[in-house]
């Protein structure tokens, strides 16, 4: 009996209390950033205003003036959207071929694709700078889109492949019997059937593009600079601008964190390449 009552006390009180504390602890830095974004720069560094202060929207209203936020945000949206679209356009046919017409080499090709993801970016830093500059593509949207697309392509192919594999082959083959062309099969049978999987793959790819902080910082200066570059350039070591820095940071991560809440499951599949189910 002793053990049973102990277990139930634990389940009833201790577990929820502990779990909630851990959750709040992990969320606290984000909460703190959002809270600080409603303080004036002066209030943000005063101990007496830690939690109680007069909230203000001025940091958000002055974001354009202080940081030119919308230009960077626009670049982030453009590069992430087009990189995701490009990756899907290349990956859907590829994953289709691998899932429904596998050859003996398919497994090796998939593994090889993954291995490209493991190449340390820094190792090819100078060649990339050299190539983009000599092709006149440095600091252009086009180059950022291509790079974002290529670094995410392996994950996109993998995720789509694991989704497509779940679709019974008979459905696709029935289409072949009816004399549908390969393109028709992809467009009219595969895409409608795997719509959910394709959408969550796109969402995850978009998040990775948005958060990318190596190439977007090293291959841009102003014209194609994304939000990563904006934040990286405003680290404000003197802490004089905590209020406005919090506001611009919150605006940079807010939408993505909310999007992320909707694709927790896909994240597991996407990041472990289907090895954890």
């Amino acid at each position: 009996m002793g053990i049973v009552s102990e277990t139930s006390t634990f389940t009833k009180i201790l577990r929820p209390v502990l779990a909630w504390s851990v959750g709040i602890l992990f969320f606290f830095p984000i909460f703190w950033m959002v809270l600080t974004s409603f303080k004036t720069d002066a209030d943000a560094v005063k101990p007496e205003f830690l939690f109680f202060f007069t909230p203000t929207l001025e940091n958000y209203l002055n974001m354009t003036e202080n940081y030119d936020y919308w230009r960077f945000a626009q670049n982030s949206v453009i590069t992430s959207v087009f990189a995701t679209a490009g990756a899907l356009a290349v990956a859907i046919p590829c994953a289709y071929a691998m899932a429904f017409n596998p050859s003996r080499a398919t497994k090796d090709v998939l593994m090889w694709m993954l291995s490209t993801k493991m190449l340390p970016a820094a190792a090819v830093l100078y060649p990339m700078t050299f190539l983009t500059k000599s092709l006149g593509l440095f600091d252009t949207h086009f180059m950022v889109i291509i790079v974002l697309m290529l670094i995410n392509l392996p994950i996109v192919v993998w995720m789509l492949f694991t989704y497509f594999k779940e679709i019974p082959r008979e459905i696709i083959e029935a289409g072949q019997m009816d004399g549908v062309t390969t393109w028709g099969e992809i467009r009219e049978i595969l895409i409608p059937l795997a719509w959910g999987g394709i959408a969550s793959t796109a969402l995850l790819c978009f998040i990775f593009c948005w958060n990318e902080a190596y190439w977007t910082v090293r291959l841009t200066t102003t014209d194609a600079a994304t939000l990563s570059k904006l934040i990286e350039g405003n680290r404000a070591p003197e802490g004089l601008f905590f209020g406005r820095l919090s506001a611009v940071s919150a605006a940079a991560v807010g939408p993505i964190v909310v999007l992320g809440w909707f694709c927790q499951k896909q994240l597991v599949q996407g990041l472990t390449f289907g090895a954890v189910k």
């Binding site: 851990v22 959750g23 017409n101 593994m111 820094a122 830093l125 994240l267 472990t272």
Partner: protein, 312 residues
């Protein structure tokens, strides 16, 4: 057979693109690592052009291996990667086991927990180093100041004041200093990646054999031995995968290190490559090749593990 040729051809664009992406820059790095190649040189202007006549053999590799910064960078890379991996796995297992069972508000706790993972690295670093860890203006500084103020008041209190005057004043820690900046990076990345470990372990725990557990309880197995002999073995594969994926990601940490200390006493390999690349491309490329070798050693194990489940 002929009707299968087109479908298979559909893989080509993806394969060709990735092939170019992998081979072209990497072979350039390999080539540059064997020649003398600098961006600016008044004395030897011929070295500013990448050409075969500047062949240096393994000279760049020698130079890098004998460079003090290189050893420090490797040490630092390993310190940062190992600490983060260890912390996230331990915290991840504990938290996953904690929230694996139902309790009021579980889905909200899950959302709170996973959020840090979606914060972009640049914001993560700026947020932690300025607003939280700063010894004067950050939360740490403000908290220390507040606690010291309370301590002052208590010391002045009659009767019990003598007890508090035995306590030392708190000193805030500066995380921008040479020795401590690596810890700042470890703290912020652990915060960001523990949610990832939790998510993976939780997914895996969902598939744990409940009947086996119930049988163990009937046999009188305690909570600890259930964890030790059932849960932990069940998690061994996900743990291995989390370790390797993180190792690969964190070996190329860059934004956090740049923002925390600008590499002051706290360079890792990618940072050192960036520094070399400001002028000495030969050395940067040789360091890059070392980084590729290091990542490959880990990647081989990871690919083997993933390959096993691939075609089931």
């Amino acid at each position: 057979m002929s009707d299968r040729r087109l479908p298979r051809l559909l893989q080509t664009p993806a394969v060709v693109l990735l092939l170019i992406w992998m081979i072209v820059p990497l072979s350039m790095t390999l080539f540059f690592s064997f020649i003398r190649y600098v961006l600016n040189s008044l004395r030897r202007p011929e070295w500013t052009e990448p050409s075969l006549s500047n062949w240096r053999g393994f000279g760049n590799y020698n130079y890098v291996l004998n460079n003090n910064d290189f050893l420090l960078a490797v040490q630092n890379s390993l310190l940062i990667v190992c600490s983060i991996v260890l912390l996230t796995v331990i915290l991840g297992v504990l938290i996953a086991v904690l929230i694996n069972k139902a309790f009021p508000g579980r889905s909200i706790v899950r959302v709170l927990l996973i959020s840090p993972f979606f914060v972009m690295p640049a914001v993560n670093a700026v947020l932690w180093i300025n607003m939280i860890l700063d010894p004067v203006l950050g939360l740490q500084g403000l908290a220390v100041e507040g606690l010291n103020g309370t301590l002052q008041n208590l010391r002045a209190a009659p009767g019990i004041g003598w007890f508090f005057s035995l306590w030392p004043e708190l000193q805030p820690i500066s995380f921008r200093a040479t020795q401590t900046s690596a810890y700042a990076v470890i703290i912020m990345v652990t915060w960001q990646w523990t949610p990832f470990a939790v998510l993976i372990f939780m997914t895996s725990l969902q598939s744990e054999d409940q009947q086996q557990k119930e049988a163990a309880v009937l046999d009188g197995a305690g909570v600890w031995s259930q964890f030790r002999f059932l849960t932990l073995p069940h998690l061994s594969r996900p743990i291995a995968i989390v370790v390797m994926i993180q190792a690969i990601f964190h070996l190329s940490l860059y934004a956090e290190i740049e923002i925390v200390s600008r590499g002051n006493g706290n360079k890792n390999l990618p940072y050192l490559i960036g520094e070399f690349a400001n002028n000495n491309i030969g050395a940067a490329s040789a360091t890059g090749i070392f980084a590729v070798i290091l990542a490959n050693i880990i990647a081989i194990f990871l690919l083997r593990m993933i390959g096993k489940t691939l075609m089931e």
